[in-house]
């Protein structure tokens, strides 16, 4: 019968915490973020007992280890962790990271799969360095594979461990910048320690006993445990549970891909607070009854023929979600426009505005980049539009009267409305500038030319 190396097992908690801390330091050094971690809990039990902590999407880095441990162990990041860290790597806008923490799908993760793997690469490098410095006879950690998805439908296929596999684990909480705290964990199958026979040196054990690959190893029937035996379980305080519970309620275990979720029409859109333009619309709307006699041009009743179809700009510009900030910025500058529709084959998936572009480059306003800040940066310009476009797009029907257009803009605090017919075809775009032009023309004021900045559509 084999037995674990007590000394190795006893040091795993400390080593794992040090390794996660080293990773935080590495993140801070490379990207200028603040990152810190604390131990949450440690113990041993069945893999499935981790389900509560990592029930949604997770990134699982499989780490091949040589030396005092031979085999494979796993380093896990929960859904918030994988999106926060990958977002840091590719400098996603904070708004987009927060969206994916709440309701990110497998498809969202797939878009940044390369970044998630690089997070794992840096993570394994940090772990290797700490173990090399602190654990005698440690030889090497190597990132073998990275799984991203929900583990629990088939853990053996996904991460090489079956649900009831006996494991030792260390769970830590990590916090990066002002993003919500997330969980990360190291999971060591008990089979990793079985070659450490009592009284043998690591060299002797390594030379004489090679365990079978973890994924092919049968569970240790002698030490099954139905529940984790938690050492120093530091259960989350109520306040710390707020964010994770929100995450769990906000997204399903198997969320639908983005493409299957059409843009939400006529509902809440994540827009900044109304600015002067919206206030002007509000003023116009509020003043309608009072000005009915003196300002007939501003009343809905006096404008029956001014529909969305009549005032819209039919020449709208489209880009596909995979196109970049650079392309969107270029098109906006070239055509002097404020909005671009995002989708393909006429199917509307989102809307990008100049303020979205501003959000995309906002990371460069962080003080840490002040030394090196440049007007434009290639890395930012290569971000795909899909990461910062507004997915909830309010549309208006072609026969909607001017009053309805203004009310919709006011209600949702938006300044541009794509005009969509009953077949879902986009016919054009109405923005506040079309509304102003219609009102001015109707009141007898001649409108010539277009505003120099941020007009809608393409003439």
């Amino acid at each position: 019968m084999s037995c674990p190396s007590e000394q190795l097992v006893a040091s795993l908690d400390t080593l794992s915490l040090h390794a996660f801390e080293a990773f935080c330091e590495d993140i801070a050094a490379m990207f200028g973020n603040t990152a810190e971690c604390t131990q949450d809990s440690a113990g041993h039990g069945a893999l499935s007992d981790l389900k509560r902590q990592f029930k949604k999407l997770a990134a699982v880095n499989q780490v091949q280890t040589q030396g005092v441990m031979d085999g494979t162990f796993q380093i896990l990041l929960d859904q918030a962790g994988l999106f926060v860290l990958a977002g840091v790597f590719v400098m996603l806008p904070e708004k987009r990271v927060l969206e994916t923490i709440r309701s990110g799908t497998l498809k969202d993760a797939d878009y940044i799969n390369d970044a998630i793997k690089e997070v794992g690469n840096l993570l394994v490098g940090s772990w290797d360095r700490v173990f090399r410095e602190e654990l005698k006879d440690h030889k090497h950690f190597k990132q073998a594979d990275t799984f991203v998805g929900s583990i629990w439908d088939d853990p053996e296929s996904h991460i090489g461990l079956h649900a009831e596999q006996d494991c030792r684990y260390v769970i830590c909480r990590m916090k990066v910048d002002e993003f919500p705290e997330f969980k990360c964990a190291a999971v060591f199958p008990e089979t990793l320690f079985e070659t450490r026979s009592a009284g043998k040196s690591p060299e002797e054990s390594t030379a004489q006993e090679k365990p079978a690959p973890t994924a092919e190893t049968e569970p240790d029937s002698q030490t099954p445990e139905s529940a984790f035996t938690v050492a120093g379980d530091k259960s989350d305080p109520p306040a710390a549970e707020v964010t994770p519970s929100v995450i769990e309620e906000a997204s399903a275990d198997t969320p639908a891909p983005i493409t299957e979720a059409p843009p939400v029409m006529e509902s809440e859109r994540d827009e900044p607070m109304p600015g002067p333009v919206s206030e002007a619309i509000a003023h116009l709307t509020r003043q309608e009854p009072m000005q009915a006699e003196s300002e007939p041009a501003l009343t809905g009743a006096k404008l029956p023929s001014l529909t969305a179809a009549a005032i819209m700009n039919p020449a709208v510009l489209w880009l596909e979600p995979e196109q970049t900030v650079e392309e969107a910025l270029s098109q906006m500058q070239r055509h002097n426009i404020g909005y671009i529709l995002i989708g393909r084959d006429g199917h509307l998936e989102g809307l990008v505005s100049r303020s979205d572009i501003a959000a995309a480059i906002s990371p460069y306003l962080r003080p840490v980049f002040a030394h090196w800040r440049r007007p434009v940066d290639d890395a930012t310009l290569k971000i795909r539009i899909q990461w910062f476009m507004s997915r909830t797009v309010h549309t208006i029907s072609p026969d909607a009267p001017l009053e309805k257009i203004m009310q919709t803009m006011m209600q949702h605090a938006v300044r541009g409305l794509p005009v969509m017919d009953t077949d879902g075809q986009i016919l054009g775009l109405v923005t506040v500038y079309e509304v102003f032009a219609a009102l001015l023309n109707r009141s007898g004021l001649c409108l010539t030319g277009r505003p120099h900045q941020a007009p809608p559509g393409v003439r």
Binding site: M30, H371, A379
Partner: protein
């Protein structure tokens, strides 16, 4: 005199991170190239040599260590400075790849200062 740079990494994300960090270091290059593995890098180097190569180690098709060995057999790459960039920090690996012809080794996490320190000697 301005120099040229090639970044070799199988991850497009990491190539961009490296490029961004190099720019933050203040080093100026008049031409930058990218390659996804050692084989592609060698092909590009033979077509159009560069002054400095920043090269990952673990890559598909041809690793960074293999690329260094092959590059040193090619005339047009003899003067090219090859700096390895990797999370691998094992001393034996670093010694091995330096013996094979690498000119420097940068371990992750890297910083603009680290690139400045390692690349500046090759900029003149």
């Amino acid at each position: 005199m301005a120099k040229s740079l090639m970044i070799v990494d199988d991850s497009a994300t990491m190539r961009k991170i490296i490029m961004r960090t190099v720019r933050m270091s203040g080093l100026e290059f008049d031409r930058t190239e990218e390659a996804g593995n050692g084989k592609e890098a060698l092909e590009k180097l033979q077509a159009s040599p560069v002054d400095i190569v920043l090269c990952d180690i673990n890559m598909p098709e041809m690793s960074g260590t293999e690329m260094v060995k092959e590059a040193r057999k090619i005339d047009c790459c003899q003067a090219t400075k090859i700096i390895m960039v990797s999370t691998e920090s094992a001393e034996e690996l670093i010694n091995s790849v330096m013996a094979d012809g690498a000119n420097g080794y940068i371990t992750k996490p890297f910083t603009p200062e680290k690139f400045q320190e390692k690349l500046a000697p090759f900029m003149n």
